[in-house]
């Protein structure tokens, strides 16, 4: 009986803790979304209004009519998708090599290179990068951003893919080789099908990172390659600072992510747990 009560108490406390944490986790999201559908008078009031306000889509209209908004959206989607595909493709090849060949030329420096990209703050390379990019006439160029994004997300993608490759029993590949299959056949017919789920998880992750990237586009892009985070940040330096449209723009950036998180949470959790702690 006593252990029963104790367990009940422990469970109750656990739920209380989890509920509180969930509330804290979600409240800013709720606040963003609710501010985005508030009239200005309901935003700039004290005490704040939580539920009792007249919803409006005016803020979203303002955003949609902002010059260059659709261009920005298109850029964000295109750059996110293209850089993600590029990054996942390159990282899968590299991850396979790193996972399966303990010794090859340049392995050590590749590992160090990946760690450096992960560990060195990007601001360190921004000044020279800015000069190089400008000198090549690639400033504000979408293709350049795609390559940049793919590069900064490479370490994470490689480590994540490595953990997926390592899960494939080597015996499968060896027996295919004994059966006379060629290397590329093994890669395409044995390895690829098995790591496809892993590639999918990696894709989701890298896409998230790319979607959120700020420093690179804010430094290396102007108007024609502008992305959503830069668009949002631009509200701060504009004179007509207004929380409604700002919240609407923020909501447009975070709603897709929130939905993706819910839909793909299993892949996200497993990916995060295995890929993040490599090094």
């Amino acid at each position: 009986m006593r252990t029963g009560t104790r367990k009940l108490l422990a469970n109750g406390l656990s739920y209380a803790g989890l509920l509180l944490a969930s509330f804290i986790a979600l409240f800013p999201v709720y606040w963003t979304v609710s501010t985005s559908i508030k009239q200005r008078d309901d935003t700039f009031v004290f005490p704040p209004k939580f539920i009792s306000f007249q919803p409006t889509l005016k803020n979203y209209e303002a955003i949609f009519e902002t010059r260059g908004f659709w261009q920005t959206c298109l850029n964000t989607v295109v750059i996110t998708l293209a850089s993600t595909l590029l990054c996942v493709f390159i990282s899968t090849l590299a991850a396979y090599a790193l996972a399966r060949s303990p010794r090859f030329r340049g392995r050590g420096s590749l590992e160090v290179g990946l760690v450096l990209i992960r560990a060195v703050p990007a601001i360190v390379i921004m000044v020279p990068l800015f000069q190089i990019v400008s000198q090549l006439g690639l400033y504000d160029n979408r293709l350049m951003l795609i390559v940049m994004y793919a590069a900064v997300n490479l370490p994470f993608a490689v480590w994540l893919m490595m953990s997926f490759v390592e899960q494939i029993p080597i015996a499968l590949e060896q027996s295919a080789a004994v059966d006379g299959a060629k290397r590329w056949q093994i890669l395409v017919h044995v390895v690829l099908p098995l790591i496809l789920p892993g590639m999918a998880a990696t894709t989701i992750f890298v896409a998230l990172l790319a979607w959120n990237e700020f420093l690179i586009p804010v430094m290396l892009a102007g108007n024609s390659a502008k992305t959503l985070p830069v668009f949002i940040a631009g509200f701060i330096s504009t004179r007509n600072l207004d929380w409604g449209p700002m919240a609407a723009a923020s909501a447009l950036a975070i709603i897709p992510i929130t939905i993706l998180t819910v839909v793909a949470q299993r892949a996200l959790v497993s990916g995060l747990s295995s890929g993040a702690i490599k090094g």
Binding site: A21, F46, M126, P229, M246, A253
Partner: protein, 301 residues
């Protein structure tokens, strides 16, 4: 790490593998060299010159001048101090809370999957958007946070007006985004622990808290170390959040981290050579953490 071993002709397979591996990693090099290696060398080169963005002065080599200037500049030491404080606060707040949440989730009560999903949402959201929203919530006059504090009879500070509140605000938002990460990794660590020792302790009559502190926590230590190292590295890199939340390091230099100082020096003051030197100093600062991280990661595996 598993590698093909044994069997007839394994040596020739290995060398064929090595050749293949060399080819497979080529594209990765094509990304790393132009985007990272060259600029790092460029930063190094720049750091020994006196270049400005507007070419105000005749550019020439000045040896360690920029480094000496940085080391003698109180703003540099102040930014190091801010960076270290933010790292320290992040670790103190995030590691215990992250572990705590992981333990709660690990109890596997009904609804755990729902809670897990909800709790990882913050870590995936766009930092710029997050920074903006929190900035609004922290507003001293109209913000919802001070309103809530008022309800419990606490007079909220003007968060962005004073040094410590601003540092706390950064820590709060960073924690909001990063505790889920600590939680997830710890959760994975917990799942990977053998049940044996804990069960044995339970049979010996140990209380749950004793088991946690004397059995579970010590065996989680390597994972926690790795998490701590990653958090340190990410705190050093933190840019978006401070850029947005405190307006590039305000009030004054209250939240101006080394990264923010580098940005300000290079892109606001036009002193790109001085900024490059700060960048190189930053790399030097990261180096020992990197070594620790590798150690911890090997140990954790």
């Amino acid at each position: 790490m598993s590698a093909p071993r044994g069997g007839p002709g394994s040596r020739s397979i290995e060398s064929a593998n090595a050749r293949l591996a060399g080819i497979l990693v080529l594209p990765a090099w094509f990304l790393i060299i132009p985007v990272f290696a060259l600029p790092i060398l460029g930063a190094f080169y720049l750091s020994f010159r006196n270049e400005t963005l507007g070419a105000f002065v005749t550019a020439r080599f000045i040896g360690f001048g920029n480094y000496l200037q940085a080391l003698m500049d109180p703003r540099f030491w102040d930014s190091i101090w801010v960076t270290l404080i933010l790292i320290l606060l992040a670790l103190i707040v995030q590691i215990p809370l992250g572990i705590g949440l992981a333990v709660l989730l690990h109890r596997n009560l009904a609804g755990t999957q729902f809670f897990r999903t909800v709790l990882i949402v913050p870590m995936l959201l766009t930092p710029v958007a997050v920074g903006l929203m929190w900035r609004f919530m922290f507003d001293a006059d109209l913000g919802v946070i001070n309103w809530a504090l008022d309800r419990i009879y606490v007079h909220g500070p003007n968060w962005m007006g004073w040094r410590w509140p601003a540092i706390m605000a950064v820590t709060i938002v960073d924690s909001w985004q990063s505790i889920p990460f600590v939680m997830l990794i710890t959760l994975a660590g917990l799942a990977g622990l053998p049940k044996g020792p804990r069960e044995a302790a339970a049979i010996d009559g140990a209380r749950a808290s004793q088991i946690f502190f004397h059995v579970t926590l010590p065996s989680l230590l390597p994972v926690i170390l790795v998490v701590a190292m990653i958090r340190i590295i990410d705190c050093l890199k933190m840019f978006d959040l401070i850029f947005i939340l405190t307006g590039k390091g305000g009030p004054g230099t209250a939240t101006q981290t080394l990264g923010m100082l580098t940005y300000n020096t290079g892109f606001i003051f036009f002193q790109i050579s001085r900024a490059a030197a700060l960048g190189v100093l930053m790399v030097i600062l990261v180096a020992p953490i990197y070594v620790l991280w590798r150690r911890a990661a090997q140990y954790a595996r």
